[in-house]
Symmetry: C2
Subunit: 344 residues, 2 copies
């Protein structure tokens, strides 16, 4: 009875917390990528009829969260807690996107790791007996993020090959106690890792060490290896970050083979879409999980998945003051609905 | 066994989660106020020897969190989770203040309600069986906050009477399963409440409706009245916000008498210190609770307290775009170590 701490930074949930429904709403560029056909809703106009990018992001959140609750066959008032966050200063996209819901709200800031953070805390609140249903999610907006973190879009800056493309959209899930749905089984919460990266156009390198840290600790805590998972997916490291993870994990004695991918690689076609290293932003891992991986967990194609949203914990102010860009990553083990073979 | 949901938005913890130790580190202005003698550490230089206000805030966090763990007789590695947040864009004060701790980290954004949010989630992680110890806290810095939210300090803007003064410092607590310490018994998590306030110099009015919402729901859920508490303390509403709460609660049928105060009123002498409506910032409720109320809970002078940090969920961008300033407030019931009389 009750959750169990295993190893140093992993907890195993009591009975597993169900991911009852998921929803993803994205914009035009995402719809043109390899995952285009999997998203629930495409909003061609990235302004979503609003007068600012920031309000547009709130609109993505609002509609997508309404959708995910509806897909669960529930009402907004059934949600015991809402946990979400975004990249905007003071997380205002989440504030204005969810103000109408009137649910007890825990605002999170985990940068692009937010989907991992919201799923972790949302699952623990259910497993701990505090909630029947939690609504969790994360969002980002390309235009809002570029304006805030790098340079005004109208400046037309050239993007270096290490740059990633912030995903516009919202991914959300309803977590529940029971039901025949994919299950959150274990949670390995990440630490802040600072390896001295200072280039705001190389988020992959900034976040890769945090992903490696949480991966290594997850494998140590559980006694597993990468080969015990059908899919391992980091959040938004892109090509640059993924190859760093593979190299760094090799040094740690783990082989990250073809079952390891990154949501930022899956979501865009880097050649056709000119997205350089890949996709990024809180929404990158959130919508890729909801649209692409969840159905495979549901139909049993994926038996066990390690989902690791990754975040870069910097601000324009900290970067301008010459500070490093530390990273964080939160790992969540999700088991699919298929027949369960014996596992470690 | 296990937590119990009571009413619509309150949970009652299993055995209560102990507040094992608290620490508060503040700067000169706070030391000159009525609570000056209660703080653990006074750093006269609000720059704390750093080259920026932002780094100074991180320094306050780091030293204060090291202190609170030491006061608990524990080591940083004993902490299962760290939950904290601040007001800076992308919460970088918390990132750079805690990066050396190497504890699994959940970053929070609750504006000035963060101490309530971190205590709530930190307590639930323990009560749910996920942790033995959690480290929770919140920080703010007058100079960093003014620069970011209002106007550069060097502009010397005149402050209207409704303005509050952001507290410089960090308040932190170590939460634990057992021990003869003040106990977190119930948690009422707030909803985002938007009553149409747009004045960034009147945070009290922006946050008061959220405080009223959580108060009313707390009393409905628990069947109590304000008179069932020895102390009710909101976070940083100041004089303006407190009088709004009293008036609005009267309309709801509750008498908020002398046992109701606001941390922003306690921390500064508004006449002698020229702080207008009172203190504010994440640190306002955090350090006032740790320095002033906790010892009274420890020695039994306070039997039962309702602690309600309050936050304004806006950003300079959202304000400049003409958006309202929604509020949020998180209520935590803390029982003291004194003899427990029969209570509802």
């Amino acid at each position: 009875m009750g959750a169990k701490k295993i190893g140093k930074q992993t907890v195993r949930l009591n009975e597993g917390v169900r991911i009852m429904s998921v929803a993803s709403t994205v914009s035009k560029k995402e719809s043109e990528g390899p995952l285009g056909k999997y998203f629930d809703k495409i909003i061609e106009d990235s302004m979503f009829g609003e007068k600012s990018w920031e309000l547009a992001e709130s609109h993505f959140i609002r509609e997508n969260m309404e959708l995910v609750v509806q897909k669960a066959g529930l009402k907004m008032k059934d949600m015991d807690y809402l946990l979400c966050g975004d990249l905007l200063n003071q997380c205002t996209a989440s504030t204005f996107g969810t103000v109408d819901f009137q649910i007890p709200f825990f605002g999170l800031y985990g940068a692009c790791s937010t989907m991992g953070e919201s799923m972790s805390l949302g699952a623990m609140l259910i497993d701990g007996g505090f909630a029947n249903y939690t609504l969790v999610g994360a969002s980002s907006h390309f235009c809002g993020a570029e304006k805030q973190f790098r340079a005004p879009l109208s400046l037309g800056n050239q993007r270096p090959p290490t740059a990633t493309w912030t995903v516009t959209g919202d991914g959300a899930a309803v977590l529940a106690k029971k039901g025949n749905f994919p299950c959150i089984m274990e949670i390995t919460t990440g630490k802040i890792v600072d390896m001295g990266i200072t280039d705001a156009n190389n988020m992959g390198a900034a976040m890769a060490p945090a992903a490696v840290d949480v991966l290594v600790n997850h494998f140590k805590d559980t006694g597993r290896t990468p080969q015990d998972y059908d899919v391992i997916a980091t959040g938004d490291l892109g090509e640059v970050g993924r190859s760093l993870v593979v190299a760094l994990m090799k040094k740690e004695g783990y082989t990250m083979d073809g079952r390891y991918t990154d949501c930022g690689i899956e979501i865009f076609d880097k050649n056709a879409q000119d997205t350089h290293s890949g996709g990024s932003g809180c929404a990158c891992s959130a919508v890729t999980f909801c649209a692409y991986f969840y159905p495979k967990l549901m139909n049993g194609e994926i038996g066990r998945m390690l989902f690791i949203p990754t975040g870069a914990l910097h601000s324009p102010t900290s970067s301008q003051q010459g500070q490093n860009i530390p990273g964080i990553a939160h790992a969540v083990v999700i088991e699919g609905c298929g027949e369960k073979e014996a596992r470690k």
